[in-house]
């Protein structure tokens, strides 16, 4: 083997997916429980007023660019974390095909698709307002 072929290059793809996995785990841990509690339980039960219960308050807050960015972070990062965990859950449960390249394409590609759908929904749902 010559010197050129053994030269090590930084594994940027590995770095990217580990970054997304770790950050997705932190974001899911810090942000998701309160959304489920307030928007999934307290709001529907009528215990507290919640912004997504009425169209006018929901569309108004969705128009804020910071809220759009927040929702993108809330959805996109955790989905990369979920994709990694679910793929390894299948490996741990005895599905070796989950290690394959097509499986990686399905799981991480799914996270990319969900992120793109989120961007599209946020850009088309409410006009930007401050």
């Amino acid at each position: 083997m010559n010197e050129h072929s053994t030269k090590k290059r930084p594994a940027f793809d590995h770095l990217f997916f580990w970054f997304m996995f770790a950050q997705g785990g932190v974001i899911a841990a810090l942000l998701i429980p309160v959304h489920i509690l307030v928007q999934g339980i307290l709001g529907p039960l009528g215990i507290v007023p919640v912004v997504d219960r009425h169209y006018d308050t929901w569309i108004s807050i969705l128009g804020n660019p910071l809220v759009k960015l927040y929702i993108l972070v809330l959805i996109a990062f955790p989905f990369f974390h979920f994709a990694h965990r679910l793929r390894y859950l299948l490996v741990d449960l005895g599905v070796p095909a989950a290690k394959s390249l097509p499986a990686q394409a399905v799981f991480y590609g799914g996270a990319v698709v969900i992120s793109l759908i989120t961007i599209w929904l946020l850009l088309t749902t409410a006009p930007l307002s401050l």
Partner: protein, 118 residues
């Protein structure tokens, strides 16, 4: 590994539960995304999720979400190492700071979700 290995010891079982938390949380976030999409229907077409089934599903998801948060943030003491004045910060303090940040961030988000509903 033999099939069903994860049912043989409690810590194996809870490891698999931790990995599984991703599935209900992903479904809940997709539901959240549907609620964003429903806002495109206009004031007459918009209807937030309100059924009893949805509330029960959310209660189940909250259990999984809390389990993910507690296990993930508890690992901070193992993963993160900080030094102040050349002395290492105890891992217990690092974990406490993570849980403190979680409480503070949750309070801010809850305030925003409730305050802007008025």
């Amino acid at each position: 590994m033999p099939r069903g290995w994860w049912t043989r010891r409690a810590n194996y079982f809870w490891y698999i539960v931790r990995e599984f938390t991703s599935l209900p949380l992903a479904v809940w976030l997709l539901r959240f995304l549907v609620e964003v999409q429903r806002a495109q229907s206009g004031p007459k077409g918009y209807a937030p999720h309100s059924s009893t089934a949805f509330v029960i599903f959310s209660v189940i998801c909250l259990g999984f979400a809390l389990y993910h948060s507690i296990t993930f943030l508890s690992l901070a003491g193992v993963i993160l190492h900080f030094k102040v004045l050349d002395r290492p910060i105890p891992s217990r303090l690092v974990v406490l700071s993570q849980f403190g940040a979680w409480a503070a961030i949750s309070a801010v988000i809850a305030f925003v979700l409730i305050y802007f509903a008025r």
